[in-house]
């Protein structure tokens, strides 16, 4: 699967090379037609052009077929180009080359260098570029007074190196993406399996609890223990979202709430992720934690709490409710006035940092509700 996808990606590179061949052939044709009368052997010049046209067609087919593609083909391709470059000297003639006439393939002979680079990477690309560059420079510059310039050879060398480098990079990026996709699929499958297992374990624990209570005696005690474990495991599953990724993007608040999973905490939340900037989600979660600590402090370890997460277009609201004794009206203000409202103040402080608000609703006998509201900013 992975090899096939990489091959598919390489096929795109080979197709681009085919485009290069056709364009380079067109340019060479224009140059040969324009300069043919200066050639030492005009007929052979037309012959070379015919060979180049035929060879381009053959290579378009050969590189398009994954079965023919391979080092024998790349080698033959390179040799044909080398021969055509070298033939330029007798055909174009020393005089015309010295006067600035180009070799017959002009730029067409770069194609096999690029092919080597795509197939073998940077080093192989440099080797092919060096071979072709020496032939190019030798043929072209030998007759130019003063030795000529090696620009063409240097371009071949650099082209081989760059294309080789980029091709390797692209292929390895493709492979890495493939691996990441496979890893993600495996993780999802693991999560699905874990859910199935959790579900059957929870089912059995609930059953033991139920039957134990029916049978009574020692079995009732076993049932009670099973019930405790059932509640603990279910809280773990309900709150057990995958850890939020810390890449700086928005995070799912529901995952941040995972640490508050406990048998006495009931969670109500949307089925979809509740996205907030990472810092805001963390800060809000800390405030929720403080509110839950407060519940435990005032209601004892068995105090029940409900968490409601609401995702609105303009804000995220989290309500923490408990069924404790509640607070007398006025006591909250009095406590605040005396500076004793440590927890409430720390919750308010955290929310103020986010531009959010805290509302506390309480009545004796009805428990306490702390509503935390964080506006969305965008």
């Amino acid at each position: 699967m992975s090899a096939g996808d990489t091959a598919a990606f390489e096929a795109t590179l080979w197709r681009s090379l085919g485009v290069f061949r056709v364009l380079a052939l067109t340019y060479a044709t224009v140059r040969i037609v324009a300069g043919a009368e200066t050639f030492a052997n005009q007929a052979a010049g037309w012959g070379v052009l015919a060979v180049m046209i035929a060879w381009t067609g053959a290579m378009l087919w050969a590189y398009g077929s994954s079965r023919v593609r391979g080092w024998p083909l790349y080698t033959v391709d390179l040799l044909v180009a080398v021969v055509l470059v070298l033939l330029s000297r007798p055909i174009v003639g020393a005089e015309a080359l010295g006067a600035g006439q180009s070799i017959l393939p002009v730029t067409w002979h770069a194609a096999p260098v690029l092919a080597w680079a795509v197939a073998g990477g940077r080093t192989v690309g440099v080797i092919a570029g060096a071979v072709m560059g020496v032939c190019d420079f030798g043929t072209q510059a030998i007759d130019v007074p003063g030795g000529g310039s090696p620009t063409g050879a240097v371009l071949l060398l650099l082209g081989g190196m760059t294309v080789g480098h980029v091709a390797r990079l692209a292929v390895s990026a493709e492979e890495r993406l493939q691996r990441a996709t496979e890893l993600e699929a495996a993780t999802r499958e693991r999560e699905r399996l874990a859910r199935d297992i959790h579900d059957s374990v929870l089912q059995v624990l609930a059953l033991v609890q139920r039957r134990g209570a029916e049978i009574g005696g020692e079995a009732a005690e076993l049932g009670r223990l099973a019930g405790e474990q059932e509640a603990a495991l279910r809280a773990l599953v309900a709150f057990g979202r995958p850890a939020p990724d810390r890449t700086g993007g928005p995070v799912d608040l529901r995952a941040e709430l995972a640490r508050f999973g406990a048998p006495h905490v009931t969670l109500a939340e949307p089925a979809e992720p509740v996205l907030l900037p990472a810092a805001a989600a963390e800060c809000l979660a800390a405030a929720i934690g403080a509110a839950l600590d407060n519940v435990r402090e005032h209601g004892g370890p068995d105090a029940r709490a409900w968490l409601l997460v609401e995702d609105e277009p303009d804000a995220v609201t989290v309500t923490v409710r408990d069924d404790g004794p509640g607070i007398e009206p006025g006591r909250l203000d009095a406590a605040a006035a005396e500076g004793r409202l440590g927890v409430a103040q720390s919750i308010k402080g955290r929310l103020a940092d986010l531009g959010g608000t805290v509302e506390i609703y309480s009545k004796p006998g009805e428990g306490t509700e702390v509503e935390l509201r964080v506006p969305r900013t965008n």
């Binding site: 059953l207 279910r234 949307p270 609401e310 309500t319």
Partner: protein, 216 residues
């Protein structure tokens, strides 16, 4: 009281199934059928005509949504009370949208369970706080999805009631706090489900017509 209420129990765990059936029989219900597979339940629904189906959401053969659609198709007046062990998740919401009348955690006590069956039979929506949170979230998701016509919306009162359910208040506590009758609170909760299920059916039909499945 007349004829006994007929209940079908669908759960792949035999001991659980039998325990539940025993409790129901002891409480005066008639057990219409007791089985472990969704496909068989759908096949039997038309013949046994249960008033209430107690359905485990995780069955080995069919998904909860498939079973509920099949049951309602075979016997439209039946009311499905879903149970699951692992709590409120996407599949519970999907099942509610497909037409389930209520949801209960498997860890509920036998008394809570019998109360839930009685309320389901009476036409009430049995909600857990977690389910209320999912339903609230679903209405907000629908409202924020652009370009969907006829999106169902909650009234202010319905939102208020649903939020209180999600915060763990009983119907009685909600009625006291909002100065409403118990019945009114039940109706509000029931409406929130009804609108969602209607919307779901309309969407299914719309989808079917778009796909050219309207029985060429």
């Amino acid at each position: 009281m007349g004829e006994a209420i007929r209940v079908m129990v669908v759960d792949d765990h035999p001991m659980w199934r039998d325990g539940v059936a025993r409790d129901l029989a002891a409480a005066g219900y008639e057990i219409a059928a007791c089985l472990g597979e969704g496909a068989a339940a759908v096949r039997l629904a038309a013949a046994t005509r249960p008033d209430v189906v107690v359905l485990d959401l995780q069955l080995p053969d069919l998904s909860g949504v498939e079973v509920i659609r099949g049951l309602l198709n075979a016997h439209p007046s039946t009311r499905v009370l879903m149970l699951s062990a692992s709590g409120e998740q996407q599949d519970v919401l999907d099942a509610v949208k497909a037409g389930a009348a209520g949801y209960l955690l498997k860890s509920a006590s036998p008394a809570e369970f019998l109360d839930a069956v009685a309320r389901t039979a009476a036409g009430d929506a049995v909600f857990t706080p977690g389910l209320a949170g999912l339903v609230l979230g679903e209405y907000r998701r629908l409202a924020s999805t652009p370009a969907t016509p006829d999106v169902p919306q909650l009234t202010t009162r319905e939102t208020e009631v649903l939020r209180l359910v999600a915060k763990g208040l009983s119907y009685k506590q909600i009625a006291e706090r909002l100065v409403l009758s118990h019945r009114t609170v039940q109706n509000h909760v029931q409406n929130t489900l009804g609108k969602l299920q209607l919307h779901n059916r309309v969407e299914l039909v719309r989808f079917a017509i778009e796909q050219g499945l309207d029985g060429e």
